[in-house]
Amino acid sequence: MDLDFTKEQKNFQNEVRSFLHETLEPQVVEKVKNGIPITKEDSERWHEKLNEKGWLAGTWPKQYGGQDWDVVEKFIFEEECGSAGAPRIVPFGVGMLAPVLMKFGSQEQKDYWLPRMLTNEDWWCQGYSEPGSGSDLASLKTSAVREGDYYIVNGQKTWTTFAQHANMIFCLVRTSNEGKPQEGISFILIDMNSPGIEVRPIITLDGSHEVNEIFFSDVKVPANNLVGEENKGWTYAKYLLTHERTGNANVAVSKRKIQKLKKLADDAKKNEKPLSHDPMFASRLAQIEIDLQNLEITNLRTLASVEGGEAPGAESSIIKILGSEIEQDIDNLTRKSLGKRAFVNEPDALSAGYNGSEVLPKAAAYASGKYFNHRKKSIYAGSNEIQKNIISKLMLNL
């Protein structure tokens, strides 16, 4: 057993650390550290700086402008970003679509779309879920019918994150009703500015606008926007999902949030003593800390097996369940630690132009909002129930 990073890996860790220290904007970090949403412009400025360094798409091969990072380098980069309070790289283009294009796209598609992801020219969103197709994604109905050099797309997508910012969407569409539902699905790229597309916001229970529904009425899509072969889209979608789930334990983010929570609990009072000394509170906190410490090792074990050449399988489902639940536990306890101040909901309190009363502690600006918003974590990217189905099928062979 050897849990140390190699010398090269340590050097890389230091390089990431000092880059983040020099480059991150303090006011953006403050938002991230207080759990407050960042703007599209915040994201784009961050992408730009990462791209200058060549780190926006570090896992990409060098020929496409990446660094060929292996799983450990990716892990180091993400963990350092997590502890530093860096904004999360918007994943839909560089993290999700790009691997699919590289594996299944035409040379023309690679040459055109990949560079544009690095330069903020395109903001991608993901058109998977539909009103009638959530966990049962293969039942999707949005249709694409070939007419000459075009597909005509009709239907509806929903829960589309950041569609309000996006100019492009990658979609799963039905191109055939023959055979099994999985066998009639295609993977296609659609310009969000096409006539016949309407985006309507879905405001979530915390009052924020992240997700949308998208309506497609006779939308004309050039046929060369089809990725790979017609009716093979399900294979590409599954490939994408393994990329979406791999290494998403968010351990560093959770650790940072626990440190923040400890500080809140030291400053709050209960029975004339710091809340952190309250036995009930201390017990809840310690249990989360132990769960997280165990997850850190579980995550490293998965990483080490991938590094050792084993394919990431349903282990990423274990990580997804644990990572989401632990983060939800932290958000829950953070809300509790604020007592009556948890009623406050001023998510703009740290944004430029906010002229309301100062919210103290700052974390109270959006703590309850965050708690409710993060209920999504056990629902999205394959609900935790779906993850258990995957574990039963692939690991338990039930």
């Binding site: 057993m1 410490q293 258990k388």
Partner: protein
């Protein structure tokens, strides 16, 4: 980064696993575990011949192992076999304590390996007090320069067959003080020792021991008088690592038994493992067992780190206590009536797994300890 055990340890684990599968039948084990002796001398000798004890003991004392990783590897295998023979009591607790003593005491460790000696640590005094430094048994000096030991030790496993008792006692300090603790190595046949022996739910016998003015020579004391807390503390920490690893082995075996059952037991015309209500319970168990394993790996990594050891040990014992009980209860539930029978293996694993939480501090104790560190 590499979490794989070294090839040598993997071979050791595989060898033991195979041995228990082929040579250590659970029905024989159960007869021995619930007999008047509480274990099988025949099995104990056969396993001694296999070198299990040596793998727990440092090379300088004629063993060939003794590191945290060795102990964890061996005890996971012992857990899979549900071995009831006194490896924890003799190979870990007694051997660790004796190894800190004089040449005479160290020679007893070598005698353990030759099967000439069965020393047993007698430390715990109340049923609900898990603090390692809790000792009220008195050590007092007699006029002739020897000492007298008086007090009660409770729930001492495998005591009836012991050749020596390693008795913690104090000549000063209050009951919880780390100062003032000594360890006396007392031959079991010495006058003034009374045994009350009981059967146990998980196999093996336990005894309450009463020491009444038992004479001890100064040569029989292990370590400096009044300064032996760290010896017993480290032995117990090693014991915690061992039984946490044992629990992992038990959990893996329970997982196998339950999965096999879910795939073969049919109701409504299909294997019950086809029902999602069952699948999700089982998937949750798998997730929890992986977390339990990570907690033990973490404790193993930090075992030789003086500042981190106690905290990671408490985190592991807490995790094992919480998850172990869950695994035991859920696996019995998924087995239905079969899980309730004496004849089937599962229940015996489940009993040991639950009772491990009662040894060296339960989940509540270790959570509080984790908080205090």
């Amino acid at each position: 980064m590499d979490f794989k055990p070294s090839p040598e340890r993997q071979i050791l684990f595989d060898t033991l696993k195979k041995y228990f599968e082929n040579e250590y039948s659970l029905s024989d084990r159960n007869i021995a575990a619930h007999s008047d002796l509480g274990y099988s001398k025949k099995a104990w000798e056969a396993m001694r011949d296999l070198g299990i004890l040596e793998s727990l003991i440092d090379p300088e004392l004629d063993g060939f192992g003794g590191t945290a990783l060795d102990i964890s590897t061996v005890f996971e295998a012992l857990g899979r076999g549900l071995v009831v023979e006194p490896f924890l009591e003799v190979g870990i607790l007694a051997a660790k304590v004796l190894s800190k003593g004089s040449d005479y005491h160290k020679s007893l460790v070598k005698k353990i390996l030759e099967n000439d000696c069965l020393p047993i640590l007698a430390h715990s005094e109340t049923d609900t007090e898990y603090t390692k430094s809790f000792v009220e048994t008195m050590l007092s000096k007699a006029a002739d320069g020897s000492y007298k030991v008086s007090g009660t030790k409770r729930m001492v496993k495998h005591a009836a067959e012991a050749t020596h008792f390693l008795v913690t006692c104090r000549d000063n300090g209050d009951a919880f003080s780390e100062e003032g603790i000594s360890i006396a190595c007392i031959p079991a046949d010495r006058d003034g020792i009374k045994l009350d022996s009981f059967a146990t739910i998980d196999g093996g016998r336990v005894s309450d021991l009463t020491f009444t003015n038992v004479t001890v020579s100064s040569e029989e004391l292990i370590g400096d008088i009044g300064k032996s807390y760290s010896i017993v503390s480290q032995a117990i920490d090693t014991g915690i690592l061992a039984i946490c690893s044992e629990a992992l082995g038990i959990m893996e075996r329970i997982k196998e038994l339950t999965l096999e059952y879910l795939k073969t037991r049919k109701q409504f015309g299909v294997p019950i493992g086809k029902f999602q209500a069952i699948q999700h319970r089982m998937a949750q168990l798998l997730v929890e067992i992986e977390q339990a394993r990570s907690s033990v790996i973490n404790a193993t990594i930090y075992f030789d780190d003086e500042t981190e050891r106690e905290k990671t040990i408490s985190a592991a014992k807490f995790s094992i206590g919480k998850i172990g009980t869950l695994v035991a209860e859920e696996s019995i539930q998924m087995h239905g009536g079969m899980g309730m029978t004496w004849e089937y293996d599962l229940g015996h694993y489940a009993k040991r797994l639950v009772l491990i939480d009662h040894e060296f501090g339960d989940e509540d104790f270790h959570l509080q300890k984790y908080i205090s560190l």
